[in-house]
Assembly symmetry: C2
Homo-oligomer: 277 residues x 2
């Protein structure tokens, strides 16, 4: 691991590292915020998964989360959203597929399957690296935005017991039926749509035994709400499966980090109840 | 005025506008955050002046200021840091002069004097526009970062009574003796160094009758501290002039918006005591 920078924030430290990833066979960059409490004892971790076009820096620069993280004693880890430094055919042609748009899946289709393995990276490789390298406890939660909200819900649902809680902002809850998800899954996972179901939170939650509440915030003025996000699918699936869901529809808010910043403290407090309780 | 966007943040609204400026003879863009209280009564305004290379967006995206602004009922206005859309000789050649580096002066030297009139823009034109267009009271304070900290201190000191309070992060307090200031003032103001003194906070404060505290935060690990910032000059001048100064040297913090975000709430509370008291 190579340290790219360390920056004091709210008496804690924001680190950026680059490392050679066995999951993606590329270098990967991630950020970790260590709150001041980490100087004295291991702290729990929230993994934050960003949305389309983002890197590790969108959340760290724009979410305004570190005041509350420092207060609650939470580390926050922000991975990148895809492998970088490649030049696969079509990889850089669109904002919603390829670079910056890994969709937190393990691709099975050529040429993506050699590198676009963000599911394994986030679920296995990154936590092992974090827990082996920093003053963190084994306790972890997961959250994210849009494509990253999809990733957080899927990873939580597929790994019972690994994360104490999950939350999401403006998540893509049902990717198999919306354009963003269909485009990505067709290219990364191929024609066999049964493989797509493993990455669809609305389908996964119906087979889950989740008993603790899931938290979702969604802006009512989000321009992607009707075509790409459709949280009512997830709401109906949770109701069917008796999974407790708090879905806050926030009047007038859009899809941006201004929306996230307005409610991130609520999400951190939600996770802290389980992580530090 | 043309509205470029409006975004809900912490139950208030962040607006961006473009307008034709009589000061700069160009279009200018500014942002204004109106807290939720502005729906019910006029609110006071903090003017925020950004640093080198910045636009109106650095503060709005990265400072994490809107939670406290919403709580305290403060509007925040963020102008751009220079005229835009010109192509004067050498204007875009360096990060510390020309575009993004107006230094909040009224240039007297050709070709800058026709457009680089950020002092008049910030002191006269912008407040008149804001007060004529939005639900704001006449009360205003001023703050800023680096080049913008210089601008805030100079504007406060040259306009007694116009602003209820001033604060700054990592300000260029004595531009006439440091490379950033000397380069800018030589080009904008010419060879007659007596003209430079009108824009030097360390010189101006010695002729002032300020009786309320000035607040400055400075990171101890700021890479520009020794060569460009040198807050001890301002501290000595304040002591000589019996001007009360709170100068917080913050251990380990750098020059970035991560530093600003860590202490912006203190600054908003400092200004609110005068603005809403």
């Amino acid at each position: 691991m190579e340290q790219l920078s360390v920056t004091r924030v709210f008496e804690g430290d924001l680190h950026r590292y680059q490392h050679s990833s066995s999951s993606t066979s590329t270098d990967m960059v991630f950020a970790i915020y260590l709150p001041p409490q980490a100087k004295n004892h291991p702290v729990p971790v929230i993994y934050w998964l960003s949305g389309l076009t983002c890197t590790d820096e969108n959340f760290t620069q724009k979410a305004g989360a570190f005041k509350m993280a420092a207060q609650l004693g939470l580390a926050i880890v922000c991975p990148d959203t895809s492998p970088r430094g490649l030049d696969l055919p079509g990889e850089h042609d669109s904002y919603d597929f390829g670079s910056g748009a890994g969709f937190y899946v393990d691709a099975t289709q050529s040429p993506w399957s050699d590198h676009y393995r963000m599911y394994s990276y986030v679920v296995e490789e990154l936590p092992a690296l974090i827990e082996g390298s920093f003053a963190v406890s084994g306790k972890k939660a997961i959250s994210g935005h849009s494509m990253g909200g999809h990733g957080a819900l899927v990873i939580f649902l597929r790994n019972p017991g690994a994360y104490t809680s999950v939350s999401a902002f403006s998540p893509i809850v049902h990717p198999t039926v919306v354009p963003w998800g269909q485009k990505a899954f067709q290219n990364y996972l191929g024609d066999d749509k049964s493989q797509w179901d493993n990455y669809d939170a609305t389908l996964l939650v119906q087979q889950s035994k989740v008993s603790d509440p899931i938290l979702i915030d969604q802006g009512s003025s989000d321009s992607f709400l009707e075509e790409q996000l459709q949280p009512d699918h997830f709401k109906a699936a949770c109701a069917k499966a008796n999974v407790p869901l708090t879905l806050n529809l926030r009047a007038g808010y859009d899809h941006s980090y201004y929306f996230i910043s307005s409610f991130i403290d609520n999400h951190l407090e939600f996770h802290a109840r389980k992580l530090t309780g």
